[in-house]
């Protein structure tokens, strides 16, 4: 993955959060951890926008916060221009933070209501001791605001956040992030709180700034279509792992991981003529405290085989530039959803065990039946859907 002009190179990055229980439970249960980020590898090169998508709780925000060192990693390497930033402290950490900035999700909460726009944007300059005098800082703030298309800057400089619209606030947040001329920016869901008509403007602004400054961006979003628009490459995260990483058009057109396929099939399309079918996924997101063994996606995967529950697949280059964490990534186009699920269970009608490999009928809910028992009842006994 490594190439010339790599800004960030992340290897086996891990972040666990301890689960806080009461005193009593700490006596008889071992300490538990939320596996927020569980061994993530990727590179970000100069001028690139890397999109991160996934369901909530999959660890995309934690990854972003680790890269800006708002969190300290449990283990793993994060090389920023060759230096490992995971263990930086004190003076060096402050220097690093000057080079890396973050744009937060909610512009209504990320701006201090008692700070003027000038105070907000000048704050990072003050913290890092940039600019000799007030006048010089005022110039820098004005320039940052103009870059964020808040023109004329003088008019906005001494306003308070409540006098600004949502889009203008997010522009202030962008100006604040760019005031220090950072070398890397993490944007955590920067447009999800904004109205549709304003959203496109903010996205175009970020793209323009990337072109102007050549700063690499990490764009975190749960919205695949927005991420596609913004990024060069997309990383799909699931339960703390990157399950697929590829150029954005590539990933949209030929997903190589079953989770990506399911995620894409769930995205609604603004075209009333295409109504898509059901998502090819079952069950809910497992708890990140007890991550399933083997491939973490296997309990929900429709294509799973015996190998999937035993061996955790590595993130490998399944096609040139297209990385996927699946044992059978190359076969995805030819695969059919497996009729025989891996686990066995009890039939809902007769209560007897359905043995592995034995024919069975499965409902989406998911309950299983013997074919004979299923023919007796007309629909699923639990969810009442027709077979």
């Amino acid at each position: 993955m490594e190439g010339n002009g790599t800004v960030f190179s992340v290897r086996k990055l891990v972040k666990y959060f301890p689960v806080k229980g009461g005193f009593a439970s700490s006596l008889y249960t071992p300490e538990q951890f939320v596996h927020a980020v569980d061994g993530v590898n990727f590179d970000i090169s100069k001028g690139e926008i890397l999109g991160m998508v996934g369901e909530s709780g999959c660890g995309k925000t934690t990854t972003g916060r680790l890269l800006t060192r708002l969190e300290t990693p449990t283990s793993g390497q994060m090389l920023f221009h060759g230096t490992d930033i995971g263990k930086l402290e004190g003076r060096k950490l402050k220097d690093f933070r000057r080079k890396v900035q973050m744009i937060f999700q909610d512009p209504y909460e990320s701006l201090n209501p008692r700070f003027t726009v000038f105070a907000t944007v000048a704050e990072p300059l003050l913290v890092h001791g940039v600019g000799e005098s007030h006048d010089e800082r005022e110039d820098m703030v004005a320039r940052a605001l103009e870059h964020a298309e808040l023109r004329p800057a003088q008019e906005f400089m001494y306003r308070y956040p409540h006098e600004l619209s949502g889009g203008q606030r997010q522009r202030v947040a962008i100006a604040r992030a760019l005031a220090l001329r950072p070398e890397f920016v993490v944007a955590d869901e920067p447009v999800s709180m904004l109205d549709v008509s304003i959203r496109a403007g903010i996205m175009n602004l970020m793209l323009k700034l990337r072109d102007e400054y050549d700063i690499p961006f990490m764009f975190i979003s749960h919205d695949v279509s927005v991420t596609r628009y913004m990024s060069h490459r997309i990383a799909v995260m699931y339960l703390g792992n990157i399950v697929e990483l590829a150029p954005s058009e590539d990933i949209i057109k030929n997903p190589m991981h079953p989770y990506t396929e399911a995620l894409l099939s769930a995205v609604p399309v603004p075209d009333p003529k295409t109504k898509h079918g059901r998502v090819e996924i079952r069950g809910d997101l497992p708890s990140p405290i007890a991550v399933p063994p083997g491939c973490s996606f296997h309990p929900r995967c429709l294509y799973r085989r015996d190998l999937c529950s035993e061996v955790k697949p590595p993130l490998r280059e399944a096609a040139p530039g297209h990385w996927a964490q699946c044992h059978f990534a190359e076969e995805i186009k030819t695969r059919k959803p497996d009729d025989v699920p891996l686990e066995t269970g009890t039939c809902e009608v007769c209560g007897k065990l359905v043995a592995k490999g034995e024919p069975m009928v499965q409902c989406n809910c998911p309950k299983i039946y013997h074919p004979d028992c299923a023919s007796k009842i007309k629909g699923c006994a639990i969810c009442k859907r027709w077979f």
Partner: protein, 467 residues
């Protein structure tokens, strides 16, 4: 006949700094079993429209004009005298007053020719008669045929008498009560609502099942349930035999007495609802915090479906959910539509969600319906610059990657909206006419309306540059 008819609805909110015109002239109708999407930016009046239909408006909000009919019942309406009083403050008071009086006259004639079923509506019409009489008298006089200050004063005086003072207020309140009583007969029974953010719509200290049971028990008198006095036992739901003379007992053939829903039956219904929306029955006694976002949203749907409504209003049903959960909830909604044949209004800011589930779409901006009609035609050939702008601002995962265009500026302040077309400050095709005059609502194609001076040209794809 259309099931829901909203005619020229106006809802204003009184706040300290003036009046917010949240909904300002919205008309649409919806047939039984149809699904309509209401799309717009935040603050454009989508939710207010829904609240007006269910008459759940907050205390400072009032319907100042227009009316809402559900199944021929008047369930929301502005007070005629109030409406005239509001109109008199505007610039074009003469035409608008005349229009209101003409409309109400027409309505009353209709009702006289074909007496409505509900006694409330009849009383309401009788109550309005003297107001209308006064206004008609003033407007029909030969010296009052043209616009004049004197006429305005006369009207103001007459209307003031009808709305202010002891007797005026008393009558006004009485009229409002009549409408409220009508609205209560349909709320949750025939029209129910899925509220925005299901996360907070449930009471955290009650079990979810209990809350749904409660919704059923409020309407316990209204289920078709019977008791047989002869056999001295309750007849189970649906086990009675219906005859033209009323229901009779299947066993002893004696006439049945109406009874209320028992708690046990309500509980049973709740369990069936959980099955319907695909949540395991065992979760019925869970608390809201034990449910995931998707499950809470589904239990909200279960609660809305409890009384078997004819119309379901879903306010941002999927906004707080992940893509996969969103897709499941949408699939659920589609399934229910198919099996139960419920009409739906889906309120959202996401055009693609609407494209997924509805057959009609209404695009709202600044309290007005800018475009309305068949979804396929509107997506194919939008006839309104605002719709065009919205479509260009939406990224998609299908097709080629296109550069998005944002709509410049931000939505107007609804306290004092811009004159003329309220979109004109942001419209790329703005002409002088747009700045001065309110556009008409034009029918550009069958089942496709647009609120624009140049709707026809936009529809045909001939757009002129802004002047």
């Amino acid at each position: 006949m259309e099931m829901l008819e909203v005619r020229d609805l106006k809802v204003y909110f009184d706040i300290l700094k003036g009046t917010v015109k949240a909904v300002d002239g919205v008309s649409f109708n919806l047939g039984a079993g149809q699904t309509m999407g209401l799309v717009g930016e935040s603050g454009c009046g989508k939710t207010t429209t829904a609240f007006a239909v269910t008459s759940l408006l907050p205390t400072n909000g009032r319907i100042v004009g227009g009316e809402i009919y559900f199944d021929g019942k008047l369930v929301g309406r502005g007070d005629v005298a109030d409406e005239v009083a509001t109109v008199l403050k505007s610039e074009k008071w003469f035409e608008e007053t005349k229009a209101i009086v003409a409309r109400v006259n027409h309505e009353h004639e209709n009702h006289k020719a074909q007496p409505p079923e509900s006694s409330e509506l009849i009383t309401l019409i009788e109550d309005e008669e003297p107001i209308l009489q006064t206004l008609n008298d003033i407007l029909s006089k030969p010296e009052n045929q043209a616009e004049s200050e004197e006429l305005k004063k006369k009207l103001e005086k007459a209307v003031g008498k009808l709305t202010k003072g002891g007797s005026g207020m008393r009558h006004k309140k009485r009229r409002q009560r009549l409408i409220d009583r009508q609205a209560r007969t349909i709320r949750w029974w025939q029209v129910s609502m899925i509220f925005q953010s299901a996360m907070n719509a449930f009471n955290p200290v009650y079990r979810v099942g209990k809350q749904i049971t409660e919704a059923l028990m409020v309407h316990k008198d209204r289920f078709r349930l019977y008791h047989c006095e002869n056999c001295n036992e309750d007849v189970k739901e649906g086990k009675e035999v219906n005859t033209p003379n009323g229901a009779i007992c299947a066993r002893c053939k004696s006439p049945l007495v109406h009874r209320t829903l028992t708690k046990r039956e309500a509980r049973k219904k709740t369990l069936a609802l959980f099955d319907l929306v695909g949540i395991d029955r065992s979760r019925v006694d869970g608390f809201p915090h034990e449910f995931s976002g998707g499950m809470r949203q589904r239990s909200m749907i279960a609660m809305a479906l409890a009384c078997g409504p004819k119309l379901l209003i879903a306010d941002e049903p999927t906004t707080a959910l992940d893509v996969i959960m969103q897709d499941r909830v949408l699939a659920e909604i589609r399934d229910l539509q198919k099996t139960l044949g419920i009409a739906m209004i889906i309120i959202t800011h996401d055009i693609s969600v609407v494209a997924e589930v509805s057959e009609k779409i209404g695009i709202m901006y600044a309290g007005k319906l800018f475009e309305w009609g068949n979804i396929i035609d509107i997506f194919d050939k939008p006839a309104n610059p605002y719709t065009l702008g919205l479509m260009n601002a939406f990224p998609s995962i299908k097709g080629h990657k296109q550069r998005l265009k944002s709509i410049p500026g931000s939505p107007p302040d609804l306290k004092n909206p811009p004159p003329g077309c309220s979109f004109h400050p942001r419209c790329p095709f703005v002409q002088d006419k747009c700045r001065a005059e309110r556009p008409p609502t034009v029918l550009v194609a069958p089942d496709h309306w647009s609120y624009c001076h140049f709707a026809g040209e936009v529809y045909a794809g001939k757009l002129r540059e802004a002047t």
